[in-house]
């Protein structure tokens, strides 16, 4: 039966090679960029600074965890900024603070995360019930979140005095702040969800071929909503983390995280069209972005140029990462 073995083997050999190449791009880019900065700046390669980079990556990592699931489905989520703002205000008003007598501690954090979850849920429902593209549904939800946050802000900055929440950003364990460990746990949990739960695998499958799931009798809508809710929970946690870092609940807590998280995920190798990538890819992407931001400051690039150089390198990194997958008739949107 030489024929069958030929039939079976030939394509498999091909695609394995492709797969290994494909995933190697971003980590290689990360290492290369790290080495370049390390060569250019002694401070950059100091242990302190590496710790600092990792610590600084914590919030972005958590937010990116959330957005990764949405991107895997082929949807997009721009609600991070608003959801984080609303959750930041929520948590700062629920733990010990200067605005009211609340002191709910962990419960406050849980409520904030749940609120994030609820926001995500609403985005998801708008997507599946009203059939509004996620781009718009989440953009709208972001505005709603900011509005809710502004309502809660009511003119006076809520400063938190809860030592536990503040401690998350200050206390350290094995050289890294608690927030960093929280982010690490999020990545682990995210990875487990992605690999071992129906939710994670279906999110992946929805990005791969949604119509096939329907043909197989899978009701995808609940999973879509759940993915947005999960992402919202991650944003909520991100909002809590920012609050802990800043010691105050800011409406702007999530400013810029939406686009940075998408950038990080894409740089890490998650496709905007869905169906490829994952939490570990995104973790690499987050590190890439953080190394860049930090490195540019360390080597002393003028603040005027930093954004531009960063944009250029991100584009270059993605370009380099896609080289192994380049085909003539490839669809790139």
């Amino acid at each position: 039966m030489t024929v069958t073995s030929e039939v079976v083997n030939a394509p498999r050999r091909q695609s394995r090679r492709g797969a290994s190449f494909r995933d190697a791009g971003p980590p290689v880019a990360l290492i290369v960029i790290f080495l370049i900065f390390a060569a250019l700046s002694p401070q950059f390669r100091s242990t302190d600074n590496v710790q600092n980079i990792v610590d600084a990556a914590a919030v972005l990592a958590v937010v990116t965890c959330g957005i990764t699931f949405v991107l895997m489905m082929g949807s997009i989520d721009l609600s991070a900024a608003g959801v984080m703002g609303a959750c930041a205000l929520t948590v700062s008003l629920l733990v010990a603070n200067n605005r009211n007598d609340n002191d709910f501690g962990l419960l406050g954090i849980a409520v904030a995360v749940l609120l994030g979850c609820a926001f995500g849920c609403v985005s998801g429902l708008a997507l599946v019930l009203l059939k509004v593209p996620s781009f718009m549904a989440t953009l709208g939800m972001s505005a709603v979140g900011l509005g809710v946050a502004t309502l809660m802000f009511a003119g006076v900055q809520p400063n938190i005095s809860d030592t536990m929440v503040k401690g998350l950003a200050i206390e350290r364990f094995l050289g890294f702040s608690y927030l960093t460990w929280i982010a690490a746990v999020c990545i682990l949990v995210g990875w487990l969800i992605q690999r071992y739960t129906r939710l994670g695998r279906y999110a992946f499958a929805i990005g791969g071929a949604e119509e096939v799931l329907l043909l197989s009798g899978v009701k995808v809508n609940p999973y879509k909503v759940a993915v947005f809710a999960l992402a919202g929970a991650f944003y909520g946690l991100g909002g809590v983390m920012v609050t802990s870092q800043l010691g105050a609940g800011l409406v702007q807590a999530g400013d810029g995280y939406d686009f940075s998280a998408i950038t990080a995920a894409v740089v890490g190798g998650t496709l905007l069209t869905g169906g490829r990538g994952g939490i570990l890819h995104s973790a690499v992407g987050v590190m890439l972005v953080m190394v860049l931001t930090n490195g540019l400051v360390q080597i002393g690039v003028s603040p005027y140029w930093q954004g531009g150089v960063e944009g250029l390198i991100v584009v270059a990194a993605v370009a380099a990462a896609v080289i192994p997958q380049r085909r003539r008739n490839q669809v790139v949107k």
């Binding site: 600074n49 610590d55 600084a56 006076v156 900055q157 870092q245 800043l246 409406v251 702007q252 603040p303």
Partner: protein, 339 residues
């Protein structure tokens, strides 16, 4: 004609005094989600209440185009007794606001941002432009910082939104201070866009970059100073590095009082919110003739104070004196003409 559709109104310019109850008060700031601007709007509300009116609150999310859009929409309505107290988003936004208001005959007071060559004196209903002397405040806190670190050592600077006059003036102030305090060296300067969160990350990075060489942090506003304070705390350097800011937001004043922050400079949001409307209201009701306003008061620096540990208690709960808003007193806080 080439007049705007809305422009064929008779330019009011004080031709007929308005009935106090017919005056429409508009206060416009970036957003309601930071303490400074929230207190501005609250100040405007308080003044409006004192004259039996309400203030129409407008916010534009720091979005220049949205600000223009709102202004032109407001000016497309009834502009006869309109008084606007506006915080232009940037220098460039002032000109169209001024021209629009002038054409429509609405009374206008602007604050903070204005290009140097645009002068209220050249317009009829642009009553005044109020700002604080950024060069001076930047220098004041720079000097305070230099003193706090004992006259020598390295500092880092956190700049505001790079294309605003406030950010630039304040930084010029710092540079002046550095010229004077030759022992102090500026190790690094980065933009943190007046944002607490950005200041946090930038400071952390700069702290690892320069390590113990950093003795002080100069921030172009208090929000960034507070972010820097958090960064210091997270780096385990709280109390070891002096921090200064500008604006005297409540948190910063308490930090100064508690000694964690070295100094800040007062800029009184609730007074600013009230005074702009007050000047406009006085002009609209005819109690203040535009021609009578002294040239020096058409564009002026308002009084500001350096707040340090010694005097922080006085500023802890800023009180606005209603008397400041009486038509005779509206120019009480003038510290000098705009230079």
């Amino acid at each position: 004609s080439e007049q705007a559709a809305g422009g064929n109104d008779t330019a009011a310019g004080g031709s007929a005094a308005c009935d106090p109850s017919a005056v429409k008060l508009v206060g416009q700031v970036r957003n309601e989600s930071n303490p400074y601007e929230a207190s501005w709007l609250a100040g405007g509300d308080a003044f409006a209440k004192s004259v039996g009116l309400t203030q129409e609150r407008l916010t534009y999310d720091g979005d220049s185009t949205k600000q223009q859009e709102q202004i032109s929409q407001i000016l497309a309505g009834d502009t006869k007794c309109l008084v606007m107290n506006v915080l232009p988003n940037g220098d460039s936004d002032t000109a169209p606001i001024v021209k629009g208001a002038d054409q429509a005959g609405a009374y206008l007071v602007t604050q903070w941002n204005k290009p140097a060559d645009l002068k209220p004196a050249d317009y009829k209903t642009w009553l005044s432009h109020i700002t604080y002397n950024g060069v001076e405040s930047g220098q004041q806190i720079g000097d305070a910082l230099a003193t706090a670190i004992g006259g020598s050592g390295g500092i880092i600077a956190l700049q505001g939104v790079l294309d605003t006059a406030a950010a630039k003036d304040r930084f010029v102030g710092l540079q002046n201070s550095l010229k004077k305090n030759t022992g102090v060296t500026l190790l690094d300067q980065q933009a943190a866009n007046f944002s607490r969160a950005e200041a946090l990350t930038v400071t952390k990075t700069l702290l690892t970059k320069h390590g113990d060489k950093v003795k002080g942090i100069w921030a172009a506003n208090d929000d960034m100073a507070l972010g820097a304070l958090e960064a210091l705390q997270q780096a385990g350097k709280a109390g070891k590095v002096a921090v200064v800011g500008i604006d005297a937001v409540p948190d910063a004043v308490s930090a100064v009082k508690a000694g964690t922050m070295t100094a800040t400079v007062s800029s009184d949001g609730s007074w600013q919110g009230g005074i702009g409307l007050a000047i406009g209201f006085c002009a609209a009701t005819g109690k203040l003739k535009v021609e009578d306003i002294a040239a020096a008061n058409r564009a002026f620096f308002a009084e500001q104070f350096l707040i340090t540990k010694d005097n922080a208690a006085e500023f802890a709960a800023p009180k606005t004196n209603p008397a400041d808003f009486e038509c005779g007193n509206v120019f009480n806080r003038v510290a000098g003409p705009l230079t």
